[in-house]
């Protein structure tokens, strides 16, 4: 198995790194997405993530397959959390391993960009004075 897709209440960079590292891969690129403590000058107190989990896993797998079949990647891990997270905590990790670094950089960027466009996961931002589903309205 050369790909790991996972949705859980807790994820770590180390899990993703341990999965992708292999002797035939000289380049490993990791993206870690964390909760930012401010949005448009407003203090963020926490985030809540909701997932349509079975479909989200399928869409994450499509992304992983594309990087392996079309982008020269040998191994990839895509991890995303569900539930509540506080500023500074990790919500998404993507680790990509390839024989050389260029393919790994490209595929890692492709994977996080595509995840944000296609994977059915929704983020609600909580502020001191209210809450909002991110990107829901124009």
């Amino acid at each position: 198995m050369n790909k790991l897709v996972r949705i859980d209440t807790h994820i770590t960079v180390q899990q993703a790194l341990d999965f992708v590292e292999a002797p035939d891969c000289g380049g490993v690129v990791i993206f870690s997405g964390n909760v930012r403590n401010v949005t448009q000058q407003k203090k963020v107190t926490k985030l809540f993530f909701e997932c349509y989990e079975p479909m989200a896993l399928l869409e994450m797998e499509k992304i992983a397959n594309h990087t392996i079949e079309k982008m020269g990647v040998k191994r990839i891990a895509i991890l995303h959390i569900t539930g509540e997270k506080l500023p500074g905590e990790t919500v998404v990790v993507i680790a990509v391993a390839a024989p050389h670094r260029a393919a790994a950089f490209d595929a890692c960027e492709y994977a996080i960009d595509t995840l944000k466009e296609t994977v059915p996961i929704w983020k609600k931002e909580y502020f001191e004075d209210g809450e909002v589903w991110v990107a829901a309205h124009p």
Binding site: E117, W122, A135
Partner: protein, 76 residues
């Protein structure tokens, strides 16, 4: 047919699952949703997934399909 709702769509409908009858296609389902829950039309986008895959407006719906309303996604 049972229709699953997520994120802001779930908040607008006030429940995670609704039952919709008399719609044969994705386009008809969307019309029903916009008529029943007008606030859905104010969203940046509204996709329908059939059996865990994004579906076009012309797709025909079967009673046994797993149908879900997908408001603008914001993972990552």
């Amino acid at each position: 047919m049972r229709v699953l709702l997520f994120g802001i769509a779930k908040d607008i409908a006030g429940k995670p699952v609704i039952t919709v009858d008399g719609v044969n296609t994705v386009a008809e389902l969307k019309s029903y949703l916009y008529k029943t829950y007008p606030r859905l039309e104010q969203l940046r986008s509204l996709m329908i997934a059939v059996n865990k895959t994004y579906a076009g407006d012309g797709q025909v719906l079967q009673a046994s399909d797993e149908v879900a309303v997908i408001p603008p996604v914001s993972g990552g």
